[in-house]
Symmetry: C2
Subunit: 144 residues, 2 copies
DNA sequence: GATTATTTTAGAATTATTCTAAATCTTGAC
DNA sequence: GTCAAGATTTAGAATAATTCTAAAATAATC
């Protein structure tokens, strides 16, 4: 994990958002920081709760707005592994997600193989790939 | 696509549900039929609307219950490609999903390559893999 | 045929997300 | 600097998606 200085970080955010026609605001910065501080794939609601600690006036709608802005600008990924709330992930390095069906925790997993050879129908344009592996995590496997 | 006779179909459902400790009920049959009749990855709400045509007394909660039963018994798959309602798919042959970010349609896609080589952390047990490809479908690509 | 377990039902309740309209902030033009 | 235009935030309402509840219906077991 490359550490970025506060300044580099801010510049990175400004650039990425700017390229999408969006501004860097204190709220967006805050939401991004929350995602980076604890990479446990929180839901929007969880991000809201955490962001509120530093910025008590932040509103629900703003958190959704900020998360959308970050996703649109390529600063975060939306993770939808199950019914229920969407989760968010600031790890933009190519990776997949392991979802424990038992404790519902999401883990990042490396994807050593490129997913080549998927033949799409004529005219379809692929953007990103989302790989989710469902199963049981080590903790939960032990308990059984 | 192998066609199954009415009888084989019913027997298949009974077996699969039975193995999970569940019964085949008229409602579960109906919901399954809806999924098979039009394989467009409907949401629970859409399944409800379609099921109602044949079985007007069926309730909302029952559709959710039936869909859960089918998923648990390996008769259908849950497809979660985006925020918003979960979709359902009765195609149990290994395949991935293409999601058009523009028109929000889901397409089944073949997966010629086995997704081998994903190294999970010690003790993690993989169940199924879910591969989703986001992008633009042929129709939507033309419009731009 | 009574008992028990499963399933369905309608509707309420909960959760997740989006919308709305007003207030605030930024930015660029003058 | 000041103003207008546009972007963003806010609180709260509205909507959408899903789950829960308790009673009634159905089916399986003894």
């Amino acid at each position: 994990m490359k550490a970025r200085s506060q300044h580099q970080d801010e510049q990175h955010l400004t650039e990425q958002l700017g390229a999408t026609g969006l501004r860097l605001t204190p709220q967006r910065q805050q939401v991004y920081d929350v995602l980076r501080q604890k990479r446990d794939h929180p839901t929007a609601e969880e991000v809201f709760i955490r962001a509120k600690k530093q910025m008590p006036e932040i509103s629900h709608a703003t958190v959704y707005n900020c998360l959308d802005a970050l996703v649109k600008s390529g600063l975060a990924r939306q993770v939808t592994v199950d019914r229920g709330a969407t989760r968010f992930c600031p790890n933009m390095v190519e990776h997949g997600h392991f979802y424990c069906d038992s404790c519902e925790t999401v883990y990042d997993v490396e994807l050593p193989t490129e997913l080549t050879g998927v033949v799409l129908p004529e005219g379809f344009q692929a953007g990103r790939y989302e790989i989710a592996i469902h199963g049981t995590c080590a903790e939960c496997a032990k308990k059984k």
